[in-house]
């Protein structure tokens, strides 16, 4: 049996010295940041009483993932550029756990953020709700459309876009381009927003060629690169020749499609550089105009709680919430013409995507002939079915 001192080979004096050194280092490090922080506010005394209005953005993944987060980060950058007197603080790769609550608290207390944009869907409940209660003077904006009047704190606004409008137009292009009449959709989880995308894409394609089918494959999670590649490969093996997706980062799907020599249609952001030959178009978010207008309202002193900024902000192609990627080289003139027509129809409100008669792929009638659902209809936000022409199951 060795003696007690051997098992912990440090003397008391060494421990005390170590502790002292660590705390001294910690103090200076803290002191350093404490000193450097006031400088930007000191020099940047333009409008708003000599202090910049700090806005915090939080992303669930990296800011340049060719996907959901990149779309938001581009919007945030545009906001910072277009709105003078506004300072941006950002944190990427924050998981949907208590980590995001800590990030929000830090942004509010240390960076002095007055408005927060935690962008991921899963941040809302319970993290944003808790923080919004704790900091009633801070304004919270959440992408996802989950705000309920009377239930949730007054300083939350939720915004979301009808990107299925853009998917419809992308479907028109895909329908024109596909030779086999088989489209593929790599999907993460069967939530209403995703099902809207699958169904709109299919409806767009079937408006060109009613025989077209869309094969959907659910991978089970928002970011599983190997499964996404497998899904793409197995659909190509089955003769699918245009593929699109709804996953966090479409990079794998686009690159795999290009490697296999088929066409692809993007999602979230512009992925044309990943598939220079096969990229047709894509449904992109366009947060820059929304964020810029929100930024201007924030600088002007408007607030959600007072009712100056609405609790629910929604829009589609016409309101610049989303847009289409520029057409790729493989898109024919006829496809372009039809796509432009659909785009104009949606923007003017003359084209309705969900119109009767509409059946699910199990044969249930959703909409009788002569009835239709406007894109803003709340009924569509409960979607739990795949329409006729989609091969797959939500169960």
């Amino acid at each position: 049996m060795p003696d007690r001192n051997m098992s912990f080979p440090l003397s008391r004096r060494q421990v005390v010295r170590g502790l002292l050194a660590t705390s001294a280092f910690g103090l200076t490090a803290k002191f350093g940041t404490g000193c450097s922080q006031p400088t930007p506010t000191g020099t940047g005394d333009n409008k708003a009483g000599g202090k910049d209005y700090v806005v915090g953005f939080i992303y669930v993944g990296p800011k340049d993932d060719f996907g959901y987060n990149q779309a938001h980060a581009e919007g945030a950058a545009a906001m910072a550029k277009n709105v003078p007197g506004l300072k941006l603080v950002e944190e990427a790769s924050v998981p949907e756990t208590t980590a995001v609550a800590e990030t929000m608290r830090n942004m509010i207390q240390q960076d002095g953020a007055k408005a927060l944009f935690p962008t991921s869907f899963g941040y809302f409940d319970p993290y944003i709700l808790e923080m919004a209660k704790e900091f009633p003077d801070v304004q919270f904006f959440h992408a996802g459309g989950l705000y309920q009047d009377g239930v949730h704190p007054k300083n939350i606004s939720s915004y979301f876009g009808y990107i299925d409008e853009a998917q419809y137009v992308a479907g028109v292009v895909a329908g024109h381009t596909s030779k086999s009449g088989k489209l593929g959709f790599v999907a993460a989880k069967p939530i209403p927003q995703l099902l809207r995308n699958v169904n709109s894409f299919t409806l767009g394609a079937r408006s060109v060629n009613p025989k077209i089918t869309t094969q959907v494959i659910f991978t089970g999670d928002w970011s599983v690169p190997v499964k996404e590649a497998e899904a793409t490969n197995s659909m190509v093996d089955q003769g699918v020749d245009v593929i699109t997706c709804h996953v966090d980062s479409p990079k794998v799907v686009m690159e795999t499609a290009e490697k296999r020599g088929i066409f692809c249609s993007g999602y979230h952001a512009n992925q044309s550089s990943l598939a220079p030959k096969g990229y047709l178009t894509g449904a992109e978010w366009d947060w820059s105009s929304i964020y810029t207008s929100l930024g201007k309202q924030l600088i002007a002193g408007k607030s959600i709680a007072k009712g100056d900024i609405p609790h629910i902000l929604r829009g589609g192609l016409a309101d610049n919430f989303c847009k289409l990627s520029p057409f790729g080289p493989a898109v024919s003139a006829a496809a372009k013409a039809d796509a432009e027509k659909a785009l104009a129809g949606i923007k003017s409100g003359q084209l309705t995507i969900y119109k009767g008669p509409l059946k699910t792929n199990t044969g249930k009638l959703i909409l009788p002939a002569g009835k239709d659902l406007k894109i803003t209809d709340i009924e569509l936000e409960k979607m739990d079915y795949l329409i006729e022409g989609v091969k797959g199951s939500v169960k």
Binding site: S93, F218, T219, V224, S234, D237, V252
Partner: protein, 315 residues
């Protein structure tokens, strides 16, 4: 024509293709872990090593493409992935052999450290496209493009398969192999033979991490062929469980890796031919397999046949 549908034949083809494509990281990590565990230490941190390997391979391949050309740059990336793995292995090997340090706990810390450093350094490589490893297209005789695509075999796969008999021979017939086994089975006896336990274990852990790093390179430079922060999605951890399933035998590591690689393709392949219910179940096959293995092989009542004697014991 590419538009020819395969129908039901797509399922076996997808499984074979998935096996060839997806098993490479499993194979390298499990062989590396096999070597490590034979010496009596566990390295759970190979999940982190896998990610760091993937990031370094991708980054080096991208940065050197201009200088070395698209043929050579990926291979330098593969080498760098291995070296980065060795770096993590050194830390693990040193830390886990300190007094009163538990190797499982260090392993978990190393997962976090490895992934963290990979994410931190990998930020600039998420967006660009790096040149990929060339593949051996052995099925170009086939008129079916699906078959051609399925049999694009990575040289890393062949390297991994070739490594299996080498490792087996190393354990059975070489002096160094004997050292590793002696240290793993009976450290006291090894000490009496005059073998340095610390050095042998350190070397085994470092070489094991080198192999795991190569597995990471297969992820980012072959299949799926990109760098994202969630590229490995737990494959490193699964491979560690797989070593137990393989009873610390290199040959069985190979079969187990092929099984796991193929299982990944099951969910998507079934959905693409129209079997679309229970896809969560099919997608979960690799994890279910891992669980079943753990249940059948782990018991507190007995030691496993083939388990290194000193594995998981305090020295």
């Amino acid at each position: 024509m590419a538009t020819e549908a395969l129908g039901w034949w797509g399922v076996p083809l997808a499984i074979i293709a998935g096996t060839l494509r997806g098993s490479v990281p499993f194979l390298f990590v499990s062989l590396g872990e096999c070597l490590t565990e034979k010496s009596g230490k566990i390295n759970l941190g190979l999940e982190g090593t896998l990610r760091l390997g993937a990031m370094s391979a991708y980054g080096v391949s991208y940065l050197c493409a201009q200088v070395l050309g698209v043929g050579l740059a990926p291979w330098l990336g593969v080498l760098m992935a291995g070296i980065a793995g060795m770096g993590l292995g050194l830390i693990h090997g040193w830390l886990s052999q300190q007094r009163r340090v538990n190797d499982v706990a260090v392993g978990i810390a190393m997962i976090i450290f490895g992934s963290g450093i990979a994410n931190f350094l990998g930020k600039p490589f998420i967006q660009p496209q790096a040149p990929q490893l060339a593949t051996l297209d052995v099925a170009n005789w086939s008129s079916l493009p699906q078959v051609q695509a399925a049999f694009k075999i990575s040289p890393l796969f062949l390297l991994g398969v070739a490594l299996v008999p080498v490792l087996d021979w190393f354990f059975k017939s070489t002096r160094w192999g004997l050292y590793v086994r002696a240290v793993g089975d009976s450290p006291q006896a090894a000490k009496a033979m005059g073998i340095s336990i610390v050095k042998v274990r350190l070397a085994s852990i470092v070489m094991g991490s080198f192999l795991a790093g190569l597995g990471g390179a297969a992820l980012s430079l072959y299949y799926p062929g990109l760098w994202t922060e969630r590229i490995s999605s737990g494959q490193g951890l699964m491979a560690v469980a797989l070593v137990i399933f393989a009873r610390w035998q290199p040959w069985q590591c190979l079969w187990a890796s092929l099984l796991f690689g193929g299982a990944q393709a099951l969910g998507p392949a079934f959905q693409s031919v129209g079997i679309d219910s229970y896809y969560y179940l099919f997608n979960a096959t690799p994890y279910i397999l891992t669980l079943v293995i753990m249940i059948f092989t782990c018991s507190p009542q007995r030691t496993l046949a083939g388990a290194p004697g000193a594995l998981g014991k305090e020295d």
